[in-house]
């Protein structure tokens, strides 16, 4: 083995002089020496380089061009901005699970909730809920006035800035306007939480807070709020609130500087005719009015 290794080292020019001298003593040495010597004189066929190159150039050749991708900053920012906008839009379109219902002046609209409950929004009111969590918790937020027909199911909660209304399956009206919060139950059972106090309302009963004055309504004969029939009914309600409702149902601005708006009103006004509505309000209170475009001015009636 040592001899074989040495022979290999010899051919690799790695053998030391003493090792070589030792190897010279072996019997194969002469033959191997000749092999080593003459084989190194061998040559492979000579190539005519230029001729080969010419032949090479005759070949059908393709080269893949290098791709020069330069960063154009202007385009980069345009694309980036677009992406952000698109992401933003898609977020709101697809990922936002909040559903909104809204009514404008003089508009009354019926909406269906995911569980088939019905809500009718009175003018200038808005309602929102999370469609994703609706199956677990029927939670919605109301600003304004709405009549609810709730299907039996999970707890149904109406959140308003003034208080919380919870039901299981029933029909009730929630009214939340400036300084005015009223809940009337027309069927079933309703629980109202206001200022950390909870009260349960059964059919025909109502709860009202006007200018922080709490009042309980008893035995409403009505089976549904009047506004569903395109009318607004008031019982001992301040004129201020009545005027506010007129402004919601009609596209007008009412100027009441010349009169006392704290006086109480009991009556009904229609949603379908401004003059009739104004008369229904002003006559019992001995008031008069003037219409100028979209402005109604109320003043005291100086007649007999």
């Amino acid at each position: 083995m040592k001899k074989e290794n040495d022979i290999l080292k010899w051919f690799d020019d790695q053998l030391t002089k003493p090792e070589l001298d030792a190897l010279k003593q072996s019997e194969d040495f002469k033959t191997l020496e000749k092999i080593k010597h003459y084989s190194s004189q061998m040559e492979a066929p000579k190539v005519d380089a230029q001729q080969a190159l010419n032949a090479f150039k005759q070949r059908p050749l393709t080269k893949t061009e290098p791709k020069v991708i330069s960063l154009h900053f202007k385009t980069f920012f345009k694309v980036a901005a677009m992406l952000i906008v698109m992401l933003g839009i898609s977020y709101f379109a697809f990922f936002n699970n909040t559903k909104n219902f809204e009514t404008t002046v003089a508009q009354t609209q019926t909406f269906k909730l995911p569980d088939n409950s019905e809500v009718i929004l009175n003018a200038q009111s808005s309602l929102s809920y999370n469609s994703k969590t609706w199956d677990d918790k029927r939670d919605l937020t109301l600003d304004g006035e709405a009549f609810f027909k709730v299907e039996k199911g999970q707890k149904f909660t109406v959140n308003t800035s003034a208080g919380l209304v919870q039901v299981l399956g029933t029909q009730f009206n929630v009214k939340e306007r400036d300084n005015y919060f009223e809940v009337v139950c027309f069927e079933g059972l309703v629980s109202v939480t206001h200022n950390n106090k909870t009260i349960k309302l059964s059919k025909g009963k109502g709860f009202k807070v006007v200018n922080d004055n709490i009042e309980l309504i008893d035995n409403t004969k009505a089976t549904s709020p009047s506004w569903l029939k395109a009318e607004s009914t008031f019982t001992n309600i301040s004129l201020q609130q009545v005027i506010a409702e007129v402004q919601r149902q009609y596209d007008v601005t009412i100027n009441s500087d010349a009169i006392d708006t704290t006086q109480l009103f009991t009556g009904t006004f229609t949603h379908s005719n401004l003059n009739t509505a104004l008369q229904a309000i002003t006559i019992p209170l001995k008031l008069s009015y003037k219409i100028n475009n979209t402005t109604v001015t109320l003043y005291k009636y100086e007649g007999q």
């Binding site: 033959t31 084989s39 061998m42």
Partner: protein
């Protein structure tokens, strides 16, 4: 480092590279397959590959790429030719001072036997042996070139020497 496209793609540059390495590449291919025409084909194919990918090959690695290509391409071809090596014209004998006709004849006979013996080597043995003997490459270098271990190179070399010895002695 500049960002200019790779030099190899430039005509003049490539041609210079070609002329510089074509003989060595051809030798390498010839050691492998033993057929002149086939060797040249292999070489042209390898250069084609370099030209095709000129944009991706770094110039410092081009030579390695050339030989590796030849190596790989050869592995895919059918080998059946025997290599007949030739000697350089003005090749000296071992004993330069000995001018006796008997000696000269003896040496020429040996050379013929050696030539024949080399044709009997396996492809692997032959290419290692010739790379070592003609190109003067160390086992380590050959190992790198062929993509095998140094031990494998030594084994092939050992086998080659054994075959050559046996053949020369028997005749």
């Amino acid at each position: 480092m500049t960002d200019r496209p790779n030099n190899l793609c430039e005509d003049q540059f490539f041609s210079d590279f070609y002329l510089k390495h074509v003989q060595k590449a051809s030798n390498f291919a010839y050691y492998k397959c033993g057929d002149n025409a086939k060797a040249l084909d292999l070489v042209q194919d390898a250069f084609s590959k370099i030209w095709e990918h000129c944009a991706k090959i770094e110039f410092s690695k081009a030579k390695t790429y050339l030989f590796t290509s030849i190596n790989n391409m050869f592995l895919n071809t059918i080998k059946h030719n025997k290599v007949v090596m030739d000697y350089a014209k003005a090749a000296p004998y071992i004993d330069r001072d000995n001018q006796s006709p008997e000696y000269l004849l003896e040496e020429e006979e040996f050379k013929t036997k050696l030539q024949q013996a080399i044709a009997l080597l396996t492809d692997g043995q032959r290419e290692v042996f010739l790379l070592n003997r003609i190109d003067g490459k160390k086992y380590r270098e050959i190992a790198e070139l062929l993509g095998i271990s140094q031990k494998a190179v030594e084994k092939r070399m050992s086998g080659a020497l054994k075959t050559l010895k046996q053949h020369i002695k028997n005749i």
